[in-house]
Point group: D2
Chain length 481, copies 4
């Protein structure tokens, strides 16, 4: 959308006009159905009374009672271009009217052009020829990348990944996702990753600068290759036990942790020296969340594989995909049918994604996102100065973090306070300039005490101001609770 | 759509009006891009020059040159209600205009109502309370079902599945999919299923009736539980090594093989006697493909878990899901976050699926599909009588099969002839009643010699007649090749 | 020993002279210690009051109270040459006096000569060069063979094995041993074998001769290679998912089941056609138990790997080993340190084994064993005619079986009766010719209802007569119980 | 033996009197046979011309040419009581004459008394009731301990172990042994351990004292339990992903690395806090090698499981075993047949072990070993002062280490020099006091540059002096090479 600001002075849009009789009765009916017929396993709604939304626009979500909620998480960064973005919505409708369906063994124009756009961009940036491969859902693209890597390494199936890392919930993705809680009830994981510490400076080794800590983390990893008895390397044959290292340049679920600039250069050198591929998971941070198409572009290395998803369709279709270097993905080594799913390059998804890619090419998202992100971060830093419960704030582009801590030391993680904030945000009773708002927040972090901010890239400065004001109120409220 | 017949007399629709200058140049441009930038790993286009389509309606696909292709596979049974079905397309557009996006930790009306419709239907049919769980893509729903089963069995991770069975291409789904080719290049699969023979009567044991053969297959399976030394059962503790049996009621990729009616009753009894769950994969056969919402309804057993996908949105969104018995999926045993994906119950998908479910409830699909299927099968039987290359025809509802064999014995599988048919079908030069048509066919079967027919359930009798005529021509042409 | 017969007329030997005061007190003391300090996990003593033995000679075990027990199982076929065999005991003592210890990275004469004897014998019989590799304990040799096979197949780690098969209790050996009970409490086994039915004719398909049933079993196995969708074979690349088939020529723990003569020829052809190795486990049946050095010699095929143990030292040392074809085991492909254990070719073990091999070369064990075995089997057949509880008897050389069944049909397996026989045998109150005897029996079989007879190869005809008489009494006694 | 010193003045014993004609011809014959018929996979003889020994006594090995070799490795610490120890050799001969064989489902006195001795000792030292379980070979005992742990943890099969750790070469033991070289050619290891750094101070973090470094290593490990996202711990349920930590108190193959005294106390606390068992592998360091029956006794913690082997029979029989706390191993939780092997408590092995245990109880091995070890270490420290190639020396009891480095910095590991030393030691041309000697040395260490010294505990002071003199000569020789 052109400017989210206008919305601040308008009522909630018509699309969500209330049902004639009673919103409350309808809501109770739905919640009762949900309690009886819906699995809770596919959700993360840990609250007792989950929220029902019925409309959205720009940076706002709406409920049936006319409440408006400023959204600072945008479907976990899947809707970078604002809810109900007219240009992208129209692209979807156009495709519905031309070619809504086509079996994936046949081709359609949008898929081809989308793949070409992404591959050419990578070639220009990284100097590497490559190809693009589609699927649906980030986790399936991660699975595809695992197949790429296992195929390229003669069947090696062990991977490195980061503590704090998150790559999805299929069995294969759970094996390389750090949290043991995601594996605990599901039996044995014979391909469980070896998890390596991420340079999380705020909670890392004391007495080191951020850059020193990054270098320290690289050295700790490099130590594994010192001898065969460190467990992962056979110096006699120059073979590693691990096929690839799965990387989120900024940790997503891990709490939007931003590593030092030197970190990935050091890490990639160790990997290259030992024949280990680097797979970069851009599912959450891709598509200009951090001010670059791929967040890894900030860190001076060329990935071997990129996995993407979420915002590629602005949340209008579960399209995902993989870019890989030609040597890994060319049809000779990775032939037809290596992986496949019915909807892998479905025409509705590719059409929206193609339009989104064109949109990103037409506007200078890089400048805009970096400027807005810096503006937002200044606001957060001011909040940190005023609130003892804010232990740390940081940001890269529009990926921002607020680490909530116990006020006595501004360091002890406080999941308690963050949970309270989310509940309070849902009440839609924060007031500013005579208007009432709710706040949609997302929680992340190793200790579930980080507010991970993924606002719409299209957010206006006035909306950023509003966000800071509402967070200020919220922090005051919960600190006194 | 009301009647596919009308289309037979109309030109290709406007939506696919040709580009001004040259279709051929445009096609060449696209194919060149595809050759350079697209992975072939995500496709099954084994042909040298893959086909580009640009429009579709009802039972027909169109290319830029104005050719029309009668489609007898409907995106592998994902588009049961015809291409560009107006009612469903409109439902999608309506949702775009109301709530196109919402993070999956919040609720929206369509998700809840869709889950309730499916669960209530199952309760009515099977007398079992249960719940519904969503994801994107059939393979992810299969992964979710694996997590359900592993959770319910205290972490057991070994499964039975059928020879000829297909459940997807994630690593977890590949482990329970029979074909070794899908695993060969990807390292070790520590949860590889134990594959059990499916009662594929045409190629099964000689000298038995179909029912006798079904019973024989059940007995062969039951034999495994005779003693601890048969390898899967500890009689001392009444524990099985295997947690579940993954079942396609009709094999899909395996060649639309239809088992004897008594088979699943016998199988389920063995499973129940040994505490092994039955997971029914309805991804390809669900949503009235066989004349029932779920194809397992034909076979007299109550599944423990149903996995669905494909046609639930008529191909407009990669929505998939799982229904499971309450004891397996209630929030106490399968709590929030047991599995999760960003798009798992995305509002565009659930809105279309909800409309599709309503549509199925309003019309008598069961009668209609069984009648059309029987009509189609009579046509196929007539073809079998006339063509020696047809070894077997069969069908249940609108899931039909033609097994192509070498003409000398009408038994030796002929992948060669089927490949030729597919290529010839793409040429769009079959003629009848003065019009030219192409044919879109799909190949399946253990030996890749089966034409698996999944025509639109909305197909008219005239279109069925047309299909038989075109197949007749095609068979004659390849038999002489 | 020259003739076991002499022993029948002599008292229990001096070595087991009783302790001065009370045998019963001493026994009670020991059983109390055992109950408190001994794990029961390493035993198979399922009886409430385990038996303590204190002496042995020839075919007899003795207890402290002067009871004598005719042993028909000889430590599960580990003591083929009779207890306390003077020649072998002396060989052990000689080695104690020369080189009792030497680190395994150095060589000693006995190891080299033993390896050479075995390898030259194999070369003469099979026309295949090969090498010998030592370890301690049969299961460790099985583990070594798994490493040989995995190494030779580029890391494939899945194996075929037989229902009813037994190869040991390490985790790796348990994965290829059929009984699920041996795996149940120990978590996931990611290399669990695919178990194939063994041609167990007595309990197999009805209406087929033994040879027809063998051929049927081969055909059932061959069926797995018919298409990629049978799950184990990729016809496009000619690659199998399985690296080897683990075979006991006669099943040991499975109940001394003897396959038809044509069986392994057919099986080996299928394996050779698909690049799958045959590993023959001779741990229980080797060293003339069946009248040949290796029992596989009866069946007309050349194994790729032979695993041996038990009787190679007549029970005086846990030496085991592997013979493999040169292409699998030569130092280039299987270099120093591929596997290793401290005691792998310990000098005491190799010295005894070398003497045992010489002994076998000097006497005509083949003729002797086949003759005695036939004589013993005739006795068993006579017992079968007279006792309804005997369902089946069979034998090859001195590996004999009696399958105990319920008397009403002489077919329903009766573990109950066999357990009773073992307990009664321990009472040492069977009488014949005015003397009292116990009987030491071993139980095997899928249903634990088979008496597996592995008498000393040195047993005299008089001792065989005695065995038949004692069994006759025992059968009568339990049938009336 | 009483005093090894006498041997220094006597010729090689009679047992190795030369063969009548030519030692060299006989040796050539044997080496030719070995090259043709012996697998090299079961050895670690990496030298081109492996050494053949033919006699041994006390601390000496002999060859056929009358050369004597002072042995400083004693079969990798399997022969703690000196080669050909008369008392133990006689115990073995006595057992040969009484009960040389008995099937393991029956009992014999020596097994019971041996188990009781070990269990009572542990109860006295650790205040923990427990039981003993036998097997053959250290790796099989390690496998048994894995089954104990997996059984006790409801099937969890992941383990922690140390970088530099070694637990054997079966597949299961290889999975918890650090070196990747031992796994590389053998396919996937789905239970590969998570390897944790051992406090190897000489090559560890700089600027810390040994105790500080031990504490640092504990803290690095404890860090893994800080949140669920560190990957191994679910704080919500208090469940760890790992069942046990496998520990060598001193690393064996890893180079006889001695940890700081505080290390295991800190480590055990972390483990206890998170429900993770500690399995102590005493295979190499047990039986007074370090001056205590179990080396873990030096470190102030009570293990949950102890695994032993090697020296328990002084190298006369491959007996091994496991002691475990009652709660892990009592017959209710770990019933008969949980694991089993034919030779698991073979009477020859248990009889020798029982005598060895009695011997250790009769003499004050603790005082003697600590005194001799300190004397030996003083000699090594003097060598370090004089030889730049000696980077580090250390010792605990008679487990001693010399780390050989490049002379320019006395730190860079020099495998080259150590290999040269071993070859030179075999030449038997070191001279002192007019006599010629060889030296038998063993190599260990992460970089294969450590001489790991495991001399006979019965060594005399004169023999220690001799060892220092010979090492001095050897170091001078290779430093000039």
């Amino acid at each position: 959308m052109a400017d989210g600001y206008a919305l601040l002075d308008t009522p909630a849009p018509q699309a969500v006009t209330p049902a004639p009789l009673s919103h409350r009765d309808e809501q109770a009916r739905l919640l009762a159905l949900e309690a009886q017929y819906c699995s809770h396993g596919d959700t993360v709604h840990y609250t007792q009374f989950p929220k029902i939304f019925s409309g959205c626009e720009g940076s706002f979500m709406f409920d049936d009672e006319g409440n408006r909620f400023l959204d600072l998480q945008m479907w976990y960064s899947a809707v970078n271009f604002g809810y109900a973005n007219p240009r992208l919505n129209n692209a979807l409708k156009r495709q519905i009217d031309t070619l809504p369906q086509v079996a994936s063994q046949y081709l359609h124009r949008e898929k081809i052009e989308l793949a070409a756009l992404i591959a050419r961009d990578a070639e220009a940036k990284f100097g590497e020829k490559g190809r693009v491969h589609f699927n649906v859902g980030g986790a399936q693209a991660v699975e595809d990348s695992l197949k790429l890597v296992r195929n390229a390494s003669n069947g090696k199936s062990l991977m490195f990944a980061f503590e704090g890392g998150y790559h999805g919930r299929t069995l294969g993705a759970s094996a390389i996702t750090s949290s043991y809680r995601y594996r605990r009830r599901f039996g044995h994981f014979g391909e469980r990753a070896h998890f390596i510490p991420f340079p999380y400076h705020f909670r890392g080794a004391k007495g080191m600068s951020k850059e020193e800590y990054g270098e320290h983390c690289v050295q700790q990893f490099a130590r594994l290759f010192e001898s065969e008895y460190n467990g992962v390397w056979d110096p006699k044959t120059g073979q590693a036990e691990y096929a690839a290292f799965y990387v989120e340049p900024l940790q997503g679920t891990g709490g939007y942790v931003i590593p030092p600039k030197n970190f990935f250069i050091g890490l990639k050198k160790v990997l290259d020296d030992h024949g280990i591929l680097m797979v970069v998971d851009e599912i959450q941070m891709g598509f200009y969340r951090t001010g670059k198409l791929w967040s890894i572009e900030h860190f001076g290395v060329t990935p071997d594989v990129i996995v993407f998803g979420k915002a590629v369709t602005n949340g209008l279709n579960p399209l995902s995909g993989v870019w890989a270097k030609e040597k890994l993905i060319n049809p000779t080594i990775f032939p037809p049918g290596s992986t496949h799913s019915t909807f892998n390059a479905n025409p509705l998804g590719t059409a929206v994604a193609l339009e989104a890619m064109k949109m990103m090419a037409e506007d200078d998202y890089e400048t805009m996102v970096m400027e807005k992100g810096a503006y937002f971060l200044r606001g957060l830093e001011e909040l940190k100065r005023r609130h003892k419960i804010v232990g740390d704030v940081d940001g890269l582009g529009m990926a921002l973090r607020i680490e909530i801590c116990e006020p006595h030391d501004s360091y002890t993680p406080s999941k308690r306070l963050v949970d309270l904030m989310c509940d309070e945000g849902m009440k839609a009773d924060l007031e500013t300039d005579g208007k009432r708002y709710g706040l949609v927040l997302d929680i992340g972090g190793y200790h579930k005490n980080v507010i991970t901010l993924a606002p719409a890239l299209t957010m206006s400065h006035a909306e950023i101001d509003l966000a800071i004001k509402l967070l200020d109120q919220l922090f005051t409220r919960v600190a006194n609770a």
